[in-house]
Subunit: 306 residues, 2 copies
């Protein structure tokens, strides 16, 4: 195989209760990437459409991720990477993670799969480090593996894949204002009260339990964040109003996707998701802010070959 | 039914990664209690053997728990409570929780079970408040319900019951020095670094996942506590040495039971548990400190009628 075309999905990290350790994979939007072998022993970004992003390999998240993978494999095969960037950078739904994850997935495939998908996470994280100054895994892990994923530990890196209740839907609204993950991280306090931390880990543990038992109501009650959301939500226009609408329309829970500004409403079933979608759209259309909105199933497979 | 005799089991709270929210129930040791109706419209502690504890109803954890239950039920039936106290107070294996849980279980039974076991937790917590100044539920919930239990939230109180992998064994060593939960709580810092909190909730979430998937190795890797253990372990004689022995003998993990001084080694299977037991016993016998030690299965039912 010389060339491969892939879909690299968007992801929702944090999910309120799981700051920096939890994420899930979407199906509704993703980058399309074509990666082919070249004879130049060099990794090149040969084309980027859809967004204005760096073409220099060492300044592009996909480029950096691939370079670190090839370095690990001691491999001097060259690759050309074309990115049709469908996920807007700074949207909070894993834009950099999608390109990083997609690129290492494709290169690994073209090299005959020397590594398992889980082993690729660490290389995709290099792209995250370039994008945000923090090598977090809560977007790249679900992008590569699909479904819900938990980062148990960063040192050493350990990813735990969780089950996906089949009726879950995500309504994602992206107000078209840009918040850099780097800036959004900077406003978070580096110390938290033990009381709030206890609430947070109680909720996260309950959310994980609820994924196993398919207890949708418990998922909803567990989608709480007393630590990061109160600070970050200030940056998101009409956050409280959306939360209220989400609750009124029967969503299980509502929160910030990653570092924002995208927000998500987690819903049980297509019907509720459609109502939340409609109500969000109606409300935000009356405001002065452009936005994207979509409904997604949970993508169970992650990056896929087109 | 006028009289009931019950076994009120010891419990291990916190379990390293789940400070204040996680606990499991033991089978090896517990209080024996006899509760009978009286015609005095009064709750009396009529006998306590095994330990020297308050006989005044409103100063005894079982008494206080029963009073709050009767108050809630608007019930003026009187009860006599006899406690054969087998769990040493201040041991860190839920001594006060056992008596509180046992008492409300028995009274509820004698009244024809107006409440479910889960609903009894809040009344048993009144005993915990009396004992430690903190109405925690991570001992009383497993004592009443058996198995592993998670406190998702305190306000409102919500208990999530988790599965019990059948090969789990607990080796519990109790150095006979007393640490009051109250004192042991006082040395904990009320603020924690966000980084450590993230590690903690990653580990707890992974532990919960591992209970569902019966991934014993993952349970072991998740039994970490960077927040409370480093402070509390200082109060426990030879903590580090026991940890080392536990690891050498193949235990899944090791930590402080509740607020200590008891420690636990979580093991897979009887064989490993027997080795850890033997090695702990040998090591501690060479020291100047008296101790209790026992091996327990996870008690899946909680308080039971004798």
């Amino acid at each position: 195989m010389k060339e491969i075309k892939i879909f690299a999905p968007a992801t929702v990290a944090n999910l309120s209760c799981g700051f920096d350790v939890l994420g899930c994979c979407l199906d509704s939007v993703g980058d399309e990437m074509t990666i082919r072998k070249n004879d130049l022993k060099k990794v090149r970004i040969t084309k980027i459409s859809g967004q204005d992003l760096p073409m220099e390999t060492d300044k592009n998240v996909a480029g950096v991720a691939v370079l670190s993978l090839l370095d690990h494999l001691n491999e001097n095969q060259g690759f050309d990477i074309e990115i049709d960037k469908r996920i807007k950078p700074g949207s909070g739904i894993g834009s950099s993670a999608a390109s990083s994850a997609g690129a290492v997935f494709a290169v690994n495939k073209l090299l005959g799969e020397p590594l398992k998908h889980k082993e690729l996470v660490q290389f995709a994280m290099k792209g995250e480090f370039l994008a945000s100054g923090n090598a977090h895994a809560d977007n790249v892990a679900p992008a590569l593996l699909g479904g819900f994923n938990l980062v148990r530990s960063y040192e050493p890196l350990e990813i735990v894949s969780l089950p996906t209740p089949h009726e879950l839907r995500m309504v994602v609204l992206h107000p078209l204002i840009e918040i850099k993950t780097r800036d959004s991280r900077a406003i978070i306090k580096q110390n938290v009260s033990l009381k709030k931390a206890i609430n947070q880990w109680g909720n996260l543990a309950a959310f994980v339990s609820a994924l196993y038992t398919e207890d949708y109501a418990l998922m909803g009650r567990s989608l709480k964040d007393e630590i990061v959301e109160p600070v970050r939500s200030i940056l998101i226009p009409f956050f409280e109003e959306l939360e209220k609408i989400s609750s009124e329309q029967g969503a299980l829970g509502f929160g910030i996707s990653g570092s924002g500004p995208s927000v998500f409403a987690m819903c049980k079933g297509d019907e509720v998701a459609a109502e939340v979608y409609k109500s969000f759209k109606k409300f935000y259309s009356s405001k002065e802010i452009e936005f994207d909105i979509h409904v997604s199933e949970i993508n169970k497979t992650g990056v896929k070959i087109l």
